[in-house]
Subunit: 314 residues, 6 copies
């Protein structure tokens, strides 16, 4: 397969791509045409169908996988595909993993590592709860492993939720080694569950957008509800422990203005907030600088409220 | 019964009061004594037991109802009871209503009015849900009718939660008459349920303080959970409707910094926020000016961020 | 008359419209043409005069009422009028009400309702003052009834100021019924006068823009001045009452950052602030959802600081 | 007269002082006594009347001038007057200037300097307006020359308003020399009038407290009204000029949160805001360091949001 | 030389200009061309090189001084130069002063005035320090006299840093006359040095952009370092005086959010902050209104957070 | 030695303590006495010298080590020492470590661990710089190892600066393992140096208070200067690297309002800010809960802006 990032002017294209977006339009002269954005895991490219009524152009829609035949042109300095033929593909003809941004880390290994940490939990109720989510609830596990951690911002790729969860959990484990007053079982459970509501807040790829419930309720509240439902099925689960765990979830954004209805009131809630914030910021920086090869100033970044540049050490 | 607000210097006291607070202490000369705060529904007064080891002083504790024999003195301009004898009373010897701040409005009538409004709801699922809380759940109803709406701030008296709920509901009904795009069934349901979590957030009188779950989770989240639990028992309850109702509860404080994890995103959520805020402010003002008989400036008020005075119209 | 909202591609146009805006321009090839925006009460549409030097094109200007002859085309998916002839009309040839956004409510009825409420005021000085504005000052009444309540935001149509004033006044009257400590005469007077300065702040339609004094002084200060002038002509008007009324006007935005030089310090000032804010928000919501027929998310709204959608109840 | 700042332990006191405050009280043993604060222009001192029922103690009240006979004691390290006799004095027995904080600058000279600057104004309308206030309105002039510029903060002494006004006016004149686009006549008029509303906002000494109108309306609005009233009496006063002058008054605090209902929109309004703020801060600093003789850190200052110390230059 | 502000449609151009910016591009039809922005001290103008491969078009780059031969056209209402020939010029062929925005005040005179003020300083250490910068350090003096005081905002022209420094110093001198507790030597030294770090923060014209160190460290910190380095070379310089001077530099922005790591804690630091802010605001206003000939409202200005207009006085 | 935390009512005291504070006073009856606060590493206790003129009471002062003979009383529920004899001790009679709060961790081991990490640095210039501070500058090392990291807040004990520095450095090292784009040499150097300015900002124990330079300049700026001075002595130290390191120091508080003159602009600066903040919060929590044995709510904490309680897990 020819990846989009490798296109050059004059190339002939004949491959399957994800149609990220399509929209019919009319030229100044009143001629209909179609604007298309093609996507694979290496990026996106604009494409135009100038003869939408040609026999070679099948009916297609946004988020279809389409086989495209065409030519790469240069329009005002940017590459563009002039599409001559389009065929809609069926499942099986393509591997979705080729078309979506995906975590660089191995999904199976990350998942296994998470299960390994659950194995070290001593409190039987917490262990039971974590297994109920991460080892037994197949529907949840499937979504959890595929979800991104965000629509934009950071970890916005397949497996991103798992990668972020694991990273926060391990940082919390490190903190438990440094600050012995932290209750490891509670903190690690809170770390693993802190973003589980995102499987309901953000739809799966290729859509990866806020759901209706995501907009109305948000992942913090839905995650808290999900814990309430699982806890109700574990006989004898200590009620104060359940409230403490929910509190950590509710408070993990740390500030009211970031959507937490409670400020952290327990040591573990503070620790989770620090770990979540640290991994988020570190990952954002990683994504910003990942493809930067020079050390020019990148311009003002709204999240970090600063102009940024990569480090030179010269 | 002689009410505290009617005490005068030199009065002899011999009646039952609520012991709001007691604490043992030692004089500069090393003599033990007891500080007491006595309460009835008209106010509180300081009292001292200078001879705690006398035979007439029974063992008593904070929140006991105690029969007090003593004398009213003036100490540095404030009245104080010099207590000679104390006897702890049993339930039945006193009427708690005499000792607690109580809504001026009739509890039965307010409750009946609320049920009457439920009768006008047309959506069968919403009606079923409201009945499940306000007509069928005896344990909930008992607490809901006795709760205050706040520890301090406004409606901080027995029946306050019911009074506030009814007032907000009626204001919402008024708004439905003015702005026809509002969905009355949803808005009135949200109004009735917006503070139900307070029955778990604040303990009943005479304690009337934040519970552990109140601190960790808050009434917004617990109210949302309570709705989720009742909805789960109503077959066919439309899921989007449930989310919309929960959203109104979550967003009713209007701002993140007031503990709402979501800003209002539906017309009804905005209306509920306006009505709740209006009744809260109007009631606070009513409580501030209720016993003010002159029109002097009262000094800076931190909630209203202003010096306040009652209106003169001269 | 053919309304703009009913235009379809290919229609022939021959009717009078308000010229909301006109600007001469030059094509890439150096040919002069004229960009025009036509308006009637149902909306606006772009128009082009490609041959501005033709005999059929009279000299015209922004805010003229013009008779237009032309054809409706589709340009890049949007409708556009290709104008062949233009004639400037004189007063009398058209009814301005057809060309401006107008309150859906009957202006005469609203005005009568307002006068009716003045009839219920008991304080003779306040009654005299309100009559001086709303019953006797013809120049004021004419402007007050035609003004919008805002350039954008809410009630931005002919009669909007009257509609908003009446709505706030009635909500205040409702509150007086709920909270007996409110002084009805003062609160209703403040409600009726709270935005009278807008007749000087915003010019009448079709311009409907900030005046020079509006920019320099604002409606809050000018409204306060207007009250001062009328009060000076009422013998014996109690000076404290005058200051209390002015205070309600000054404080009605509730917060310094919204342009109020004083925070509400009287119960009535707080009530007015609540009622004004409630009607403003409710009306904004009404205008947002008025023409929305689906329940898709509308995108982030800067006033409500939230994504919004209409309620589904499914 | 013996000034309070010169009192020493053991001194006998027999002189007239202002009674800044008096309040009856009762000792722990139930004996009545009176707490008094005596004031002269050099400071204040606590005093006690231990035998209030003695024949030598006349009835007196807060803000009376009283002849005091007594003895200076040291109580817990602070001086205190033990008062034996009190006689209430009549006007004429004392010179109020001895009892009030007074500007160090000569009131007549400052006033003359202000009139001199009015003499340099060229615009006839502005000159007429300034004369109407500062040369012709005797009642205004009397208050203006005696007022303080604030209850606390800065220039809180007799003549403080005149001193502040003159200082701001001269700084504005300096700025006119530096930035030629400034309109000197408008800016100087605005500077002279910017705080005239304070003669209504703060009562005269010895009370020097906010008036009712001061609380309800504030000096910014009342100053603007006062200008409006004088302008109305000057035939042909240009209306835009009047609005521009009022705008400068309204905007002189520079920020909404400081009570300005408008942000500066004219060059002169910005200049006035800068000059007012600069003189206020410089005078506060002068008052803070005026009696400081060492260069220790003075502790956190809430206005300057910093710990402060006087400069050492070593 | 023909200045850009005097260009008219149809003019023939044949003169030397600064090439502010150049970028190669391709037309829709794939033809290469070059976008150019030409600059002289009166403004900038767009230019196009439609035949970049012509013999008459020498290789040139951004910030070259180029001799341009071409014609002034009108494109969509804006003037544009159609360039036929370009020749790159050598130093000496042009006077850079013709191409850069330059202070209207005479650089030599301003510099002399600054030296004159240094002559009035009495403290020998401060005098030595100021001479070390402004009289002896040739490299520094050269940059200091040519620098702008900002990239945008105010004083953004050759000589702007000197003009701003002198203006602040003189305003501080004026304040010393009004508030005698100010230490003149310290305040004037702080005024002269407050922005010296800008010679390292912003590169010289024609680039006039933030340097790498400017971004990483900022002029406040670098200015403080520069003082530390010079002080280290003056034997016996009092260490507290050095810290007080550095403090004034660190605190001169007045607020943490404007990049000052310390709030003003000394009287002189407060005075410098006031003077710097006043000159900045006054100069911004001067630059805004300098070329405005009418008194229309200019639209919302983000620095002054207000719509602005020039004063009419009518 | 008898530690203060072990005192009981009725104990006889005869040991050496640090006099944290002393102040002469006078009883209501005019009798002189002395208030004293005694301190050892386990806490502080109030003491009174009722007969300051007795022969057994030597002249002593704040921060003297004094041998105290007296008796432990209970005054209003709190213990208090009634002091009969005081003798001022000479160095050598006592071990200061017994009187000051001290890190629980071994100072030598922490220091050795820090040197060990320096040994792993690969960049020769950074290694040289770190050795210049932590291995070679004896005066610096002595202070650095004894300093606290704060006057209050967290790590406010002997060795606190070393403990905090080591903890932040190790957390940064952990982050380098997780996020490979981080430059380990730069980040670890920044971590080790981020608070070195505190050796100048806060005086050593027992005083442990802000110095004059600490108030005027602060540890961020002084730390940056200290780096500049050492760098100047290392031939060939890359200038950009020096600026990047200084930037990390300047930006490590993360926000302007916390005194950082720059927001983090490099990945390492962001990481340092996260690590510093995390260790600070975790240590504050550790100090809050260290001596808490129950799980009651502790009341509102101003740093965490929340009521806090220790975790129960029941």
């Amino acid at each position: 397969m020819k990846y989009i990032k490798d296109y050059k002017e004059g190339d002939r294209v004949f491959d399957i791509y994800l149609c990220k977006h399509m929209q019919s339009a009319v030229t100044k002269n009143g001629k209909p045409y179609i604007n298309v954005i093609l996507q694979d895991k290496t990026g996106t490219i604009d494409a135009k169908v100038w003869e939408p009524n040609n026999a070679g152009i099948e009916d297609f829609d946004t988020l279809d996988y389409i086989e495209v035949y065409g030519e790469v042109n240069n329009f005002q300095g940017a590459l563009q595909v002039n599409v001559k033929r389009i065929r809609v593909c069926r499942e099986g003809e393509y591997d979705p993993a080729d078309y979506l941004p995906v975590s660089k880390k191995n999904n199976d290994e990350m998942y296994k590592e998470l299960l390994g940490i659950i194995g070290t939990i001593k409190n039987p109720y917490i262990k039971q709860l974590l297994n109920a989510f991460f080892a037994e609830d197949e529907a949840f596990i499937k979504k959890f492993r595929k979800s991104s951690a965000a629509k934009t911002m950071h970890h916005g790729f397949v497996g991103g939720l798992l990668e972020h969860t694991l990273s926060v959990t391990k940082l919390c484990d490190y903190l438990c080694g440094c600050y012995p007053l932290l209750k490891r079982d509670l903190l690690l459970a809170a770390a693993m569950c802190h973003d589980i509501g995102k499987v309901k807040e953000i739809s799966l790829f290729p859509e990866n957008d806020y759901t209706d419930d995501g907009q109305l309720l948000g992942h913090i509240i839905m995650g808290c509800e999900m814990i309430g439902e699982k806890v109700a099925k574990i006989p004898g689960f200590p009620p104060v422990l359940a409230s403490e765990l929910k509190h950590c979830i509710l408070a993990h954004h740390g500030e009211y203005e970031y959507g937490s209805p409670k400020k952290p009131a327990l040591f573990e809630a503070v620790a989770l907030n620090m770990a979540d914030n640290t991994d988020a910021k570190m990952q954002m920086m990683t994504e910003i600088f990942d493809n930067v090869t020079d050390s020019n100033w990148l311009g003002f970044n709204r999240v970090f409220e600063s102009n940024l540049r990569s480090t030179r050490m010269e």
